[in-house]
Amino acid sequence: MSNTAAPEKILDIRGLDISFRTNAGTVHAIRGVNLDLCRGETVAIVGESGSGKSVTMKAAMGLLDSNATVNAGEILYTYTDEAGTKQTVDLLKLPKKTLRQQFNGQRIAMVFQDPMTSLDPTMTIGKQIMEGMFLHKHMDKQAAKARALELLELVGIPDAEKRFRNYPHQLSGGMRQRVVIAVALSADPDVLICDEPTTALDVTIQAKILELIMKIQKEMKLSVIYITHDLGVVAKVADYVNVMYAGKIVEVGNVNEIFYEPLHPYTWGLLSAMPDLDTDDDRLYSIPGSPPNLLHEPKGDAFAARNQFALVIDEKAEPPLFQVTPTHFAATWLLHPDAPKIEMPPELKARLERAKKEADKYL
């Protein structure tokens, strides 16, 4: 946790707005996203499929599909250049070439969801790891190999010397994800974006990969962004949580605020939908309905149609982000001074209190 005075912002996304041209029309996928990442911190973006989590980070990597248009916003990245002076650049304004040459891999690296398809099948894993070093660090072959072997060991691949010459198909899914992480780390990035890094892996491997990323984060002083729909992952790794719905961040807070004092009905829904063993109810809750089709811009609050606590105003106007604590914000009309006092569902409240007590035992 970062309790240091005035943590330094490394990535600052402001008013990001992205739409996609499709055959059916324009899909307004990202509708004004703000997100902060401070040095050394871990920030999670949670939300359902299609909520725009990945698109937001792909925009920062310059990996948006060709049918995407950035309508507005900036992604400010702050770094110290070779001369030692602080620089802040808007990644969206950089030409692709500059982005690839100076930022991708070297400053911001990314780990993708499916390790089975994210490695080049015709290249040895050693070469794939060394590529980044040749590109950014201009290392000679020997130094690169030595560093690659180090990385393989760091990500927990036994027998690195032998694995170095292996092709991806000779490794299991968990091993491949470790290799993908090693590839991402190859040019010593400052920021690591993990796009659902454990979704495609089985549960026993998931925990190991998460622990690995946390260990590496500490050792290499990385700032990490997790994109996930798994609140279990969030609770385990994140300092701050951004809850995303229909292309907007609907609630932001530190991990305790989101898990113990959630304010947005959507967050309540997400938390209620987590499987829980200590409950009398044997049915698993799910949020009714499905996310809105962003082909048609939702009027008012995008979540209103699925929200059992929706107010009349939700149908008419979009709620602003209300600030509750210095770190906790939520975009729901329930927080308006004139709104009726509505609390989270009592079952959820009881459950969160139980979880908090459970957690306090370990403090």
């Binding site: 070439k97 070297q106 993708f112 490695l119 190859s186």
Partner: protein, 314 residues
């Protein structure tokens, strides 16, 4: 790896042997007569059959034939090119067909690859559309139509190239048939290359390479081309065989003494020429098997998944 190669070669030889036997059997049970029967009396035919050993038991005939092949002797024509050994006639035909086909392959695959790559790199732009239209035309219009068009335009209206094939001016007279033959290959390769490359461009591993900081030509060279080329090899192989074995109609129209024309003559002549049909059948199969063998081995070079499997196999 050596064991893998030897195993593949062994399989290829065995396959060819089985095909030879089946072909032999099929030719023998085919209805019709191997001799130009209208010009021969019953007695002559009976003499001829006896002379060529056609009255012996089929296995006896087969092994005699096989023995001949091993000595490079494919016998003589029964109704075609009477008296000349098949191997002599065939070698001229092969040399004509292979040279024209080879030119067509070179032209077709080189231009096809280039066009496909250019289209994939300019997805959705002019060259992509051009490639699509070109491919559809090239695949839909038969090569002899192109041939007649080229013949009419560049040999008749603008009399630059010869109107018919002239073995004495080989390269010059090979231009029209090679170009018209290459268009199908060119279109197929162009479309396939384009689609494969676009698919590879959309793959996760290209995303990872970009996230690593790769871009432009080194990205294409190191990650896209190799992965896109592997399936292209598979498509190219049968096209190569098709072109090498001569285009039946093109050779006939342009007056090329190639194996395509020979095959047509052997079947549509006065009698069905047993020995030519057999020899050409075996040649076609041998080419197919040979090229597929080369493709398999080439796969081993291009695709580590196969190479490694082969190494582990033995």
């Amino acid at each position: 790896m050596l064991k893998y190669v030897l195993k593949r070669i062994g399989m290829a030889v065995l396959t060819l042997l089985i095909i030879t036997f089946l072909l032999f059997l099929l030719v023998r049970i085919m209805p019709g007569n191997p001799f130009p029967s209208e010009r021969m009396s019953a007695e002559q035919i009976a003499n001829k059959r006896a002379e060529m050993g056609l009255d012996d038991a089929i296995p006896v005939q087969f092994f005699r034939y096989l023995g001949g092949i091993l000595r490079g002797d494919f016998g003589k024509g029964t109704s075609l090119y009477y008296g000349a050994p098949i191997s002599t006639v065939l070698s001229t035909a092969i040399s004509n067909s292979f040279r024209i086909g080879g030119l067509a392959i070179l032209l077709g695959s080189a231009v096809g690859l280039l066009l496909g790559i250019v289209a994939a790199l300019n997805r959705g732009k002019f060259w992509d559309g051009f490639c699509t239209v070109f491919s559809i035309l090239g695949v839909c219009v038969p090569s002899y139509v192109f041939l007649i068009f080229l013949q009419y335009t560049f040999a008749f209206r603008i009399p630059y190239f010869p109107y018919f094939f002239d073995p004495n001016r080989f390269l010059f007279s090979a231009v029209i048939p090679s170009v018209s033959l290459s268009l199908f290959t060119m279109s197929t390769i162009a479309r396939f290359t384009r689609n494969e490359m676009v698919e590879v461009f959309d793959s996760d591993y290209v995303r990872l390479a970009e996230a690593k900081g790769m871009y432009g030509s080194s990205l294409v060279r190191k990650h896209v081309l190799r992965n896109a080329l592997i399936p292209i090899v598979t498509v190219l192989a049968p096209l190569v065989v098709d072109l090498l074995t001569g285009a039946l109609v093109v050779e006939k129209i342009y007056g090329i003494n190639g194996i395509g024309k020979l095959m047509v003559d052997a079947i549509t002549g006065e009698g069905i020429d047993y020995n030519y049909v057999l020899a050409l059948g075996i040649l076609y199969s041998a080419l197919y098997i040979g090229i597929m063998l080369i493709v398999d081995l080439l796969y081993g070079v291009l695709d580590p998944r196969i190479r490694v499997a082969a190494r582990e196999e033995g």
